[in-house]
């Protein structure tokens, strides 16, 4: 398990949806049907961009955990986050995401970001026809329903908490979960700022930011560094049994504490 599998998964994501994507106008019914099916399989550009944003935030968090963060890598990731944020602000999608506090989409919703790999020329074509305006009117209804479903799923309050709670459930005690939530919120808050450079807090002296996460880390530090791929691997399995496993880990902790008390 681990890195290799994560890479293969991501590679699958890269190729999985490539075939279905069509950007040309369609003339025949045949084509339309094909593309309808294709569209359903392809997450929108916005969704993919959101996914990239989430991935980047996870990376930034994780790099605070390692022995000494690689400054070049952190700067490059932060710049990527900033780029996404700027684009989202221009789009107006930033507002929508904000109000529903949906930045923490669970990672099983990490969708193919292959659109993002393509050249901007192709993207402009794609964006102007955000998936459905190239289709004849009859299908517009269905399409917009689909896309709004996807968007609302992303922004629902249901999905977001999964990210942080799942990440720390297995490893850290309950209070650390709260702290992580808090620090992820801090990072996200900085992105919410209207000032142009909103990601700076991450770099306000690498040292102090390290200490900010200190309490959260005390639970983690004793554990070996988890490759972020490893961490990502744990997500899919957690989403459905979220509340159950919450209880379970609580009970286990309680048992453990009782054990200690009894023994002493």
């Amino acid at each position: 398990m681990g890195e290799e599998e994560g890479l293969r998964q991501a590679q699958l994501l890269d190729t999985m949806f490539v075939r279905g994507l069509k950007r040309k106008c369609f003339d025949g019914e045949e084509d339309i049907e094909g593309t309808l099916a294709g569209f359903k399989a392809i997450p929108s550009y916005n969704l993919q961009r959101q996914s990239l944003l989430d991935m980047s935030l996870v990376k930034l968090q994780l790099c605070h955990m390692l022995v000494e963060p690689n400054l070049c890598r952190s700067v490059l990731i932060a710049n990527t986050v900033r780029q996404i944020q700027e684009e989202m602000t221009q789009d107006g999608t930033w507002q929508m995401i904000n109000t529903q506090n949906a930045g923490h989409a669970s990672l099983d919703r990490l969708v193919s970001t292959d659109i993002l790999c393509r050249s901007s020329r192709e993207q402009t074509e794609a964006k102007h026809s955000p998936g459905y305006s190239t289709f004849p009117k009859d299908f517009e209804e269905t399409q917009s329903q689909d896309s709004s479903e996807i968007m609302s799923a992303v922004s629902s309050g249901q999905a977001p908490r999964n990210l942080q709670s799942n990440m720390w459930e297995m490893e850290s005690p309950q209070e650390n979960r709260g702290n992580f939530q808090k620090s992820l919120d801090q990072i996200f808050e900085t992105l919410e700022n209207k000032s142009p450079n909103s990601v700076e807090d991450l770099f306000s002296e690498v040292d102090s930011s390290y200490y900010d996460l200190d309490t959260m880390l005390t639970g983690m530090m004793s554990n070996t560094k988890m490759g972020h791929c490893d961490v990502l691997e744990t997500f899919p399995s957690q989403t459905t049994t979220n509340s159950n496993s919450n209880c379970k880990s609580d009970l286990n902790e309680l048992d453990h504490i009782v054990e200690i008390l009894v023994e002493s």
């Binding site: 990376k59 490059l76 970001t113 901007s120 020329r121």
Partner: protein
């Protein structure tokens, strides 16, 4: 290049491989730097465990005219030890980031080796004679009572087995807050520079308690940090000129005569972005991982994630040559971002005559580009081609569509097998290629 035809093409053959055969790589054995000395007789490697291993080329055997001398272990020493920064509660890795040789001035050899924080000057000297014939000690080693010594005996040097000693002559410490990524010795052979993520310092080889800061790109407010220094090098001939590259794909050439603090560049080399190729990953893949001057000093080469670029120092607005290393990865940038491979720092090097450049890739592949013939070749460092003088077979990666026989598809590339460090002998066609924990030496087929 092999297989491409033409009388002048080089055919590369396997020569040697150094390192453990195990697939289970001990982390300390991961090779982190490779460097030939100025004559090419010595080849140094540094690893993650802080060790330096120096190989020496055997004297050419006149009877074996068809092969050059082999490289054998000459000296091994522990250059850096892990340290702990108590202020930050962080470990300082002992990994050797760079080794640079000084030109030889006397019988001893000198090199600079650096980890993230400290640079050391090592003297490597040979001892092949030892004085014998003292009459001052007993058999068991105790000193004789002076009153019992009645004759004056002058000891005589007698040959002994060759012993190679490495001793640290200078330690240049406490000058870098951030991680050192480059060291470069000036053509005056008296000074050198060390560069970290945000600053570049100038040292004198004799003075360890002082260094001059010559570049500082740290913003007053760290929150405004968007760019870091990724590599730096002195010009091979002009002792006042150096360049440094950045994570935004720019190279700045600085003249130390202009001012003490070289924050204002003399020249800025930057290729305008191709707007049709723009994506969220554009900046990351434009980040320069290595910069190397040509031996002539007229050109410099930069390596970014997907390509190698040759710049004429007289032309700032675009490179004169661009070579694609693994363009097939462009559609995979998302995956490579996810697994962090997009942050891999590949190095590059020139051959002795500046006619061919070389760099590494994934799957233990490495690439060479002939600047004159415009031909390129992909070769693999693998234990499968183990017989000396076996000509290496060119490799080909199939980007998409039908995979031909002997081609490898992009999806079956092993991204854990990366060749980050390569070196070319300054005079001969001998190359050293480092895989994760093995060092391969290849040479051209001599007929």
């Amino acid at each position: 290049m092999a297989g491409a035809g033409g009388g002048n093409d080089i055919q590369w053959c396997f020569s040697q491989v150094k390192g453990a055969v195990d697939d289970d790589v001990a982390e300390a054995d991961i090779i982190s730097t490779v460097e030939f000395n100025h004559s090419g007789e010595l080849l140094a490697t540094g690893d993650k465990g802080g060790r330096v291993v120096i190989f020496q080329q055997e004297q050419e055997n006149k009877t074996q005219a068809h092969s050059r001398g082999e490289y054998n272990v000459y000296s091994t020493f522990q250059s850096h030890e892990p340290e702990f920064d108590y202020l930050k509660s962080l470990e300082i890795e002992e990994k050797i980031n760079k080794i640079r040789w000084l030109p030889q001035k006397n019988a001893a050899q000198f090199l600079l080796s650096t980890n993230d924080k400290t640079i050391k000057l090592w003297k490597i000297s040979e001892r092949d004679k030892r004085p014998e014939g003292y009459n001052l000690k007993e058999e068991d080693g105790r000193y004789r009572d002076p009153t019992t010594v009645t004759t004056l005996r002058v000891p005589v040097f007698r040959p002994m087995d060759l012993m190679v000693e490495a001793s640290p002559r200078r330690i240049f410490a406490n000058a870098h807050t951030y991680h050192i990524n480059s060291i470069s010795i000036n053509s005056d052979y008296e000074t050198y520079l060390s560069a970290d993520d945000l600053r570049i310092n100038l040292w004198h080889l004799e003075i360890t308690d002082r260094s001059f800061n010559i570049v500082d790109i740290k913003p007053a407010n760290m929150e405004e940090l968007t760019e870091v220094i990724t590599a730096a090098e002195f010009h091979p001939n002009s002792c006042n000129t150096f360049v440094y590259s950045s994570s935004k794909g720019t190279i700045r050439l600085c003249d130390m005569r202009a001012s003490a603090l070289c924050d204002r560049h003399s020249k800025l080399f930057e290729e305008p972005e191709d707007p049709s190729n723009r994506s969220f990953f554009s900046e990351i893949i434009s980040s320069i991982s290595d910069v190397k001057f040509s031996h002539s000093g007229r050109y410099m080469m930069t390596r970014d994630y997907l390509s190698v670029k040759i710049w004429d120092l007289n032309m700032e607005n675009r490179p004169v040559e661009t070579y694609q290393v693994h363009e097939y990865l462009r559609s995979k940038l998302c995956s490579l971002y996810e697994n962090d491979c997009i942050f891999d720092k590949f190095e590059c090097c020139w051959n002795g005559s500046d006619s061919v450049v070389m760099t590494g890739s994934y799957n233990n592949f490495f690439r060479m580009f002939d600047r004159n013939t415009k031909r390129d070749i992909t070769l693999e460092a693998s234990r499968e081609n183990n017989k000396p003088r076996t000509v290496l077979k060119p490799r080909k990666v199939c980007a998409s569509g039908k995979r031909k026989k002997d081609e490898i598809s992009v999806d079956s590339l092993d991204f854990n097998k990366k060749i980050l460090h390569t070196a070319w002998h300054p005079k001969e066609n001998i190359i050293a290629v480092a895989t994760t924990n093995n060092l391969y030496i290849f040479q051209d087929k001599m007929n």
